[in-house]
């Protein structure tokens, strides 16, 4: 069963691959995954950790909408998408998408679509803590500018 969710615990990569493979991993042949991890720098500034927060109900709904769109692109795919929230350390996995399909092109397309759309649309925010003691909302620089009308 395809599913999308916010999670607060660490993301178990093997478990998610096994989940999309199905009980015996025998139906699909091709699994594409994307794993996002917390980087140790943002531009020139050293990052020590960050906190992801979300508008939970809407984020879950958007992620599920995205999943359904991906399943329309790659009919018959099995897709799992999870995004972690809360405090994360450098190196932690923050997001993982796994898409299984009979054909590898469809597995890649579905996986790629889901991560691109998550980045565009899902109401999740990232607050980075820097080694220099500072902290900042990522993208907060656009706060003082006109926000483009996404609607």
């Amino acid at each position: 069963m395809s599913r999308a969710a916010l999670v607060t615990e660490a993301i178990d990569m093997n478990a998610i691959v096994d989940e999309v493979r199905g009980r015996n991993g025998e139906r699909f042949g091709a699994i594409a995954t994307f794993i996002g991890t917390v980087r140790n720098s943002d531009g020139a500034r050293a990052v020590v950790g960050l906190e992801y927060s979300a508008y939970d109900s809407m984020a879950t709904k958007e992620m599920n909408d995205i999943l359904h769109e991906a399943l329309a692109i790659a009919a018959g795919a099995e897709i799992v998408a999870v995004h972690r929230t809360g405090n994360l350390a450098v190196g932690d996995v923050c997001v993982m998408i796994a898409a299984a399909h009979v054909h590898r092109a469809s597995a890649f397309d579905a996986c790629r679509y889901v991560i691109e759309e998550i980045k565009k649309r899902v109401p999740i925010w990232k607050h980075e803590r820097f080694k220099d003691g500072g902290a900042e909302w990522v993208n907060a620089h656009s706060l003082a500018r006109a926000t483009p009308d996404h609607s």
Binding site: S57, M58, K61, R121, V122, P123, I124, A140, A146, S151
Partner: protein, 78 residues
């Protein structure tokens, strides 16, 4: 009517709260709400993004006191 708005992330920092109440005329739309919300703080953009009932909403969408309204800063998931 009074509309309670959920406020997140950098926008919550800007207004100093994760919730705000704005007054708009009965029959108001998201467009009216955006103008009223932008007036809450100079740090907010002139046309902040609004979600109504977990969905991004365009200016023509009507809002009422029973709707869940949220102010959505630029997203940064993934």
């Amino acid at each position: 009517m009074d509309i309670t708005v959920h406020v997140f992330a950098s926008y919550a920092d800007a207004i100093g709260s994760d919730r705000a109440t704005v007054s708009v005329p009965d029959g108001a739309t998201v467009g009216d709400l955006r103008t009223a919300i932008a007036a809450l703080s100079k740090s907010l953009p002139p046309r902040p993004l609004i979600a109504v009932n977990d969905k991004y909403a365009t200016d023509d969408v009507p809002v009422g006191p029973k709707d869940e309204v949220a102010l959505i800063p630029p997203v940064a998931g993934g």
